[in-house]
């Protein structure tokens, strides 16, 4: 049959390419709100580190980057950046940068970094299409691509400017899974090796690769338990595991972890198991007696148990590192709070509140179980994979807000399967003619790769079998009534429209703020930009000595290093809890104690965030309890959380604030000169409190700069007094108080 002089299969192929291209374009475009509203700028905290390292990579080349010892962070310890970073993201941007510049497109590296996540979101749509097409069909694939393109759960981490590992990692995750399904289906070492290659890229890009290296073995193990061991599984898994592990060990930050840590042991165990089973299967093909069968089965079981106990022994013996704290916190949500407050203090590590599932996935969260149910109904290898992925990811998403990101792709894929199944039934226009026109039969053409060599293969491949099987089913469920169809289809049309509307709304309202720039409305409705952070950072950058050391809470470490270009004591890498606790101690101690700590660490400037004037709630006084807690964890005798609470157990900053609170450096720096601004008594708009009357006296530090809206306050640490007085005495002398003479007392 021909339309416009083209074969229908050509037209549908063309349409698919066009639709997929448009979906990728939409995925990219919907992430540009922040550029249009604000500007092309790097967002939040971690992206600033990635941006800084990318700039270094572009300027100095790969080998310099690999050996980079960054002496400007974690003062005085420094940080071996090359060995403690997942370089995938930086290398990706630097490669794009170099290619573009080789072609004489003089794009600024900042713009590449800003647009990298949206670009990879486009790729993610394509990967989702491929994966879903592999499991169901291309129409489901297109739906999945559209869903993942706009789903807020993914957009939250991939808007323009959010230059973080997750931005490219989700694409790699999806594509690796696609390649794995493909390898499993084809049983070819070629696809297995490709899976390993993309797994390597994923390892280079994100710590979340552990999810892949546990999910794929879990899939293989489940298939073995289901009695579905085959040479295809053997070839795919073995080639993937060997190549993938070897390649992943090339990343310095990963190193020998694949052979030394518990997170990777499952993959190794399954690899061993699959070898034994393969051997047994091989041997069994020559021997067929029943006794031998029992012998083989027991051999498999015994060796599996043996390996497991060997693993336990090695772990106990200390040869294999046990699970790290971060992983424990995935099993026991209260673990981090008790033992590692620094992990618990990060908001994205909190357990997910249920509305955020709806907020991030809208109707997909309801279609997700339906999709899983449909997977159970067919239960091919790919469906088993989706089920496993869905179950594990929804557990993790429930434990940690941040892992909602890992759940989103599978929700999109399964929902697409559900909706596509529905459309298969309700959209079939001419049920009588099921050969050419129907979506189904087009699909069998689509599934065949266009290359000639494939056609002979795919007739025997399971996908065609599956489709013909499905065709039978769909004919079984044929809906004849026109009204019923209209009702269901229009209903779902409305659902999908609302979904898109919701996604756009969420993206534009919740996920498109750079967070280094705040926006508010003026009385006349025009936008007013609050740019205090950059004001302060730029002031530091331009008006302080290049070697100045800045102390701040670790949240701002990356931003100070990136925007102010000054040495920081602690940053968002949080690898050294003691160092962070020391900063926490300095902030929560009285001036004299804090001064000693600051002198010892060569601190020149202290930076605090204060939202009291503007009502910016993410300020340091609100984060103060975490500083105290973390400091108490390391210095239990010197910092006590209890002392910061009123006898009634309240955390207050007003008249009733405890003396410990009012004497702490953080409190003093936040409210210094604040009462005077109000001409008597300051009003803290975040905590809705009126401050105690009286001047806050600072002896060891002096205000160096305060931004327009008082959000960032920078203090300069005073040098030791010239004539050996304590700074407190010197301060008193300056303010005109006479020192009481000791002589008098003796008289």
């Amino acid at each position: 049959m021909k339309v416009l002089g083209l074969e229908t299969q050509n037209i549908s192929a063309l349409l698919k390419v066009v639709i997929l291209g448009l979906i990728a374009a939409v995925a990219l475009a919907s992430r540009l709100f922040s550029i249009i509203r604000f500007e092309s700028v790097i967002h939040e905290f971690d992206p600033w580190f990635n941006y800084r390292t990318t700039r270094f990579l572009v300027a100095n080349g790969f080998y310099e980057f690999w050996n980079w010892f960054d002496e400007r962070s974690w003062y005085p310890l420094g940080r071996v950046v090359g060995g403690t970073v997942y370089p995938g993201l930086m290398v990706t941007s630097a490669t794009i940068y170099n290619i573009l510049h080789a072609l004489n497109f003089t794009v600024d590296i900042r713009n590449i970094c800003v647009l990298l996540a949206p670009l990879f979101s486009g790729f993610t749509s394509v990967a989702a299409y491929l994966l879903t097409s592999e499991i169901k069909d291309s129409s489901a694939g297109l739906l999945a691509a559209a869903f993942i393109g706009v789903a807020p759960g993914y957009i939250s981490r991939s808007v323009a400017g959010s230059y973080d590992n997750e931005g490219i990692a989700i694409f790699l995750l999806m594509f690796t899974f696609y390649l794995w399904i493909k390898a499993l289906k084809e049983g070819s070492a070629y696809w297995g090796a490709l899976t390993a290659l993309f797994y390597f890229y994923m390892v280079a890009a994100w710590g979340g690769y552990v999810f892949i290296i546990n999910l794929i073995p879990l899939h293989a193990f489940t298939l073995i338990l289901m009695g579905r061991f085959s040479t295809r599984l053997y070839v795919a898994y073995s080639s993937f595991y060997i190549l993938g592990t070897l390649m992943s060990m090339q990343i310095p930050f990963v190193g020998f972890q694949p052979t030394r840590t518990s997170e990777h042991m499952a993959a190794l165990g399954i690899f061993g198991l699959i070898q034994i089973i393969a051997f047994v299967e091989f041997a069994r093909s020559y021997i067929s007696s029943n006794q031998a069968q029992i012998l083989f089965k027991s051999f498999v079981v015994i060796s599996f148990v043996g390996m497991l106990s060997g693993l336990v022994l090695l772990t106990l013996g200390g040869y294999i590192a046990p699970w790290t704290g971060r992983f424990y916190s995935l099993w026991d949500t209260g673990y981090a709070k008790k033992f590692i407050p620094i992990i618990a203090s990060v908001s994205e590590h909190q357990p997910t509140a249920w509305p955020s599932f709806f907020f991030d996935l809208e109707m997909l969260i309801f279609l997700f179980p339906a999709g899983i149910y449909l997977c159970f109904k067919e239960l091919h290898d790919g469906h088993v994979f989706l089920i496993l992925y869905g179950i594990t990811a929804s557990y993790f998403a429930g434990v940690m807000v941040r892992l909602m990101l890992a759940l989103t792709p599978v929700v999109c894929v399964t929902s697409a399967i559900a909706i596509s199944r529905l459309f298969d039934i309700y959209l079939k226009l001419d049920p009588e003619d099921s050969d050419n026109n129907s979506v189904k039969s087009n699909k069998s053409v689509i599934d065949k790769p266009s290359r000639k060599g494939d056609s002979s293969r795919s007739t025997s491949s399971p996908s065609t079998n599956k489709s013909s099987e499905k065709k039978k089913k769909s004919e079984h469920f044929r809906i004849l009534g026109f009204d019923t169809r209209i009702l269901v289809i229009s209903n779902f049309f409305i659902f999908l429209t609302i979904f898109i509307w919701h996604c756009t709304w969420v993206t534009s309202n919740a996920y498109s703020s750079p967070s280094i720039v705040l926006a508010s409305r003026q009385a006349d409705g025009s936008q007013y930009i609050i740019d205090d952070f950059r004001e302060a950072y730029y002031w530091l950058r331009k008006n302080t000595d290049y070697s100045s050391k800045v102390m701040s809470w670790w949240d701002y470490g990356y931003q100070i290093a990136g925007m102010a270009d000054r040495t920081v004591l602690v940053d968002n890498n949080t690898w050294n809890n003691t160092h962070i606790a020391t900063v926490g101690k300095a902030m929560s101690s009285p001036e004299d104690v804090a001064y000693k700590i600051m002198r010892r660490h060569d601190v020149d400037y202290v930076l605090v965030i204060f939202g009291g004037l503007l009502g910016y709630s993410g300020d340091d006084i609100n984060k103060f309890l975490w500083m105290i807690r973390i400091a108490e964890g390391v210095y239990p005798n010197e910092v006590k959380e209890v002392n910061f609470f009123t006898p009634r157990g309240e955390y207050r900053v007003d008249d009733e604030a405890t003396p410990t609170m009012r004497n702490s450096l953080m409190y003093k720096m936040s409210y210094h000169n604040y009462n005077e601004l109000f001409g008597g008594q300051g009003q803290d708009r975040v905590r809705g409190a009126r401050l105690p009357i009286g001047k806050i006296k600072l002896d060891t530090v002096e205000e160096a700069y305060t931004t327009e809206n008082w959000i960032v306050r920078i203090y300069k640490v005073k040098k030791l007094d010239n004539i050996g007085r304590s700074l407190e005495q010197a301060g008193e002398f300056e303010s005109g108080k006479k020192r009481r003479k000791r002589v008098k007392r003796t008289n």
Binding site: R451, G453, I529, L677, Y705
Partner: protein
């Protein structure tokens, strides 16, 4: 296709007669004795220190006391000031005819740089000539005291030789100093006047003026202006980078936001630099104003008929000793600045101004770069170039407002070059499709 001419003639019309300063450092100390062929019968000197730039205007009546006709007259400038010399111009007093002035020898013993003035005619023995020497210096005023509190008053110190500089004997002289432009200043107006008789060349007495100067001393340490010409887009893209320092009295202690907020509306006369204004061409579009860490949101654009005005505030108010850098850029239709000369077959590009005057700031260094359309040169490459562009770089030091004059650049350009970009792009896509056609017909499988 005509072979594109390799030679470009850069024609720079310098309206003002200024000379570029090159520090010719002498290797050995040599004292230079200028023969006493002249006598200054009268010198009238006016020094204006009411702005950041010190402008000196010296009217000299010189008499030839030699026995031969003379053409050359030497003028000394102390090395210390010479590095800050912005311009030196010599004119005939009445006709305002410009005389040639050039850098002569350097006296490394006395550390004096000589300038040789050449008159356009010989002056006979006992003949007289009246001419004016105009000079401008930057960085001649030092804040004293060097540090003031946040809302303190700034005083400047000006030091000079009371008797002026001359290599010849001066019989009579009068020096006037304008130290303020403010009207209504009491105590003999706004001038100080000195009158002296008969001074020898080396006579020296310090002239010291200490006066209140309640303005920011802004110095642009470096400015770079890029003009990129695109015939294809009929567009002139301008981008300017600035590196600004407040050279006034430094802030004593630290900055207090409280004090700033309390005084900002009452304390108008301040040395703090809070907001700036830049004038752009009338049809300027896509104006952006950024610094190293992104867009600066505190800017406002005002369109007027003949010009566009960019008002902006730096991220923080600039106090004494503080620095700030930024850059801004815009596009303007090229037609306004480009003419085609049919006789010579060359394009003439007019750069509207060597500098964009910025408040009363002085420029330590200005670099103007003109990026000509894509041609056969590989000096500079930008978006979508296949060959490269010719880049003209002009550097100048000690620049002040007087240097904001236009200049012209002429070059050859083949119309056929306009087709380069579409041709390159279509070739690229053609090759891409060709490759994909070949690829889809290839067989990569091992076995069937």
């Amino acid at each position: 296709m005509k072979s594109p001419s390799l030679s470009f003639i850069v024609l720079v019309l310098i309206v003002l007669n200024f000379c570029l300063i090159h520090n010719t450092s002498a290797t050995t100390e040599n004292e230079i004795i200028i023969p006493q062929y002249w006598i200054n019968t009268k010198i009238i000197r006016t020094i204006d220190i009411s702005t950041v730039v010190v402008r000196e205007n010296i009217a000299i009546m010189a008499k030839n006391v030699h026995n031969e006709p003379l053409r050359e007259y030497y003028f000394p400038i102390n090395e210390k000031f010479d590095v800050h010399l912005s311009y030196i111009t010599v004119k005939e007093k009445k006709t305002l005819k410009i005389y040639n002035v050039e850098k002569a020898d350097f006296d490394s013993f006395k550390r004096i740089q000589f300038y040789k003035i050449t008159f356009d005619q010989d002056i006979d023995p006992q003949g007289k000539i009246i001419f004016t020497v105009s000079t401008a210096f930057i960085h001649m005023l030092t804040p004293y005291p060097a540090e003031i509190p946040q809302s303190g008053r700034q005083n400047l110190l000006f030091r000079e030789n009371l008797y002026g500089n001359s290599v010849y004997i001066t019989e009579q002289q009068k020096t006037t100093i304008n130290y303020t432009q403010k009207p209504g200043v009491s105590r003999d107006g706004k001038k100080i006047i000195y009158v002296f008789d008969k001074k020898k060349p080396d006579d020296y007495e310090e002239l010291l003026v200490h006066y209140e100067f309640q303005q920011a001393l802004l110095t642009i340490k470096g400015a770079r202006r890029d003009f990129e010409i695109s015939h294809w887009g009929n567009n002139l893209a301008v981008e300017e980078h600035y590196n600004l320092t407040h050279d006034g009295a430094k802030l004593k202690g630290q900055f207090s936001r409280l004090e700033y907020q309390q005084t900002v509306y009452t304390h108008h006369e301040t040395t703090m630099a809070r907001d700036f204004l830049l004038v752009l061409p009338g049809h300027a579009s896509d104006v952006y104003y950024r610094d190293e860490i992104g867009n600066v949101s505190t800017s406002r654009l005002r369109k007027e008929r003949e010009r566009t005005i960019l008002e902006f505030k730096p991220r923080y108010p600039l106090l004494g000793g503080w620095n700030y850098t930024w850059y801004y850029g815009y596009n303007v239709p090229l037609g306004e600045f480009l003419k085609y000369n049919h006789q010579t077959g060359r394009y003439i590009f007019k750069v509207p101004s060597f500098i964009n005057p910025f408040h009363n700031a002085v420029f330590d260094k200005v670099q103007v770069r003109i990026i000509l359309p894509e041609e056969t040169h590989t000096v500079h490459k930008t978006f979508f170039d296949s060959k490269g562009r010719y880049l003209i770089v002009l550097d100048k030091y000690n620049v002040i407002q007087e240097h904001s004059s236009p200049f012209l650049v002429s070059y050859e350009y083949d119309t056929i070059e306009l087709l380069r970009k579409p041709l390159v792009a279509s070739t690229f896509f053609f090759c891409g499709f060709l490759l994909s056609m070949v690829y889809s017909r290839m067989e990569f499988r091992i076995g069937k």
